[in-house]
Symmetry: C3
């Protein structure tokens, strides 16, 4: 989580551009926080006349196709905020250069995901926190699957 | 909505073929109606021996992988009709040329979608209708988010 | 079902490797059982510096992006077992060669799927069984849509 597929015209981005965009988006996800190495970018060039919008060839179009599996984005407020935040981060790479662009995010099953042979630990678990710190996948114990903030007696009383 | 990824053998389609297919499918969606510029096609060539079907190399195979986010196709009757309709439109490009083919559609979240920096307006809203007419994304007001056919007093009485 | 997209560094796999991997994974699905021709592999090369992990270029990374539509994998036990089984099968192609890798599976709608112009028959129907045997798509009757093991009087009594 996430996988960013970026379909772009040949030559739209330099190696430096790609790295900068990947880095900035990675920082965004790292703030959630999730481990940085969860963020994968694959850039794909679209040769001339292989992209069509509205039935016409469009050679100034960038399509971001994103899969997110580590978190389900909860509720309409956060979902709208997230889309607008992504649009802001990518604007210098597309809008400011005269490209049209489109973003879609799919939320794929958390439990059909494996990373370097490990099934990623639960959201906000002790193991996930360790993965954030170490920035790599490694085995974890059943104790580490517990939430970082474990409350064994939830109830109606104030805390 | 929709994104059509078309994976095809090198040289299967001319530039003219691609444009014709994109145009015909765009017309189909425009009839729903949705804005024409919602329809995006990306054609990708599969080099020889990079496609396998049933464990064997298959160099006469075309794979249509479609994401739809503007509409959820409602109910079994319309879903079957839609698949058969798509099969009819693409038949001259695949079946009639001796290719095997497969189509799948995924329905991804409507509210995790942004287009040229705008979150697309609700289904059948005044703003969507305007987008259909202008065939481009633009800001819209909260009033334009209302349905074109707004009924403020739904109920059991006849209309 | 399934579609396996394999994004890999240029030259990571020989033609022989690709065929072997496709064959072994196909066998796995064939054991469910589902028709072998349901299993489609598309290998895509990622040119140098078009793949980033955690914001840094990563040229030893293989990304498996899988769509499954013929079956929904039921329950946490089978879902975990399935991921671990896939990891085992691909290990010789990635882990044992020094690549990092990631697998995600999406489960897309069964009823928005068409294969060589046919809508695939229901799970474990007579028609599906015939497709397994013939290993190709063909028209089927309404009778063939019935389950292979049809029980017309389900109830609480022992069988």
């Amino acid at each position: 989580m996430p996988l960013w597929k970026v379909y772009h015209p040949v030559g739209a981005f330099t190696a430096e551009d790609k790295k900068k965009l990947a880095k900035q988006v990675t920082e965004l996800y790292a703030n959630i926080p999730i481990p940085k190495f969860y963020v994968v970018f694959i850039f794909e060039e679209m040769p001339k006349d292989s992209c069509f919008v509205g039935g016409e060839p469009h050679n100034k179009f960038v399509r971001f196709k994103i899969d997110q599996m580590a978190r389900t984005t909860p509720g309409p407020v956060i979902r709208e905020w997230w889309m607008r935040t992504l649009d802001e981060v990518i604007a210098p790479f597309v809008k400011d250069r005269g490209y049209d662009w489109e973003i879609t995010i799919d939320e794929t099953p958390f439990d059909l995901w494996s990373l370097h042979g490990e099934l990623p630990p639960p959201f906000e678990s002790v193991a996930e926190k360790r993965w954030v710190k170490e920035n790599k996948a490694s085995p974890y114990t059943i104790t580490e699957k517990l939430p970082v903030n474990l409350v064994l007696a939830p109830g109606i009383s104030d805390r």
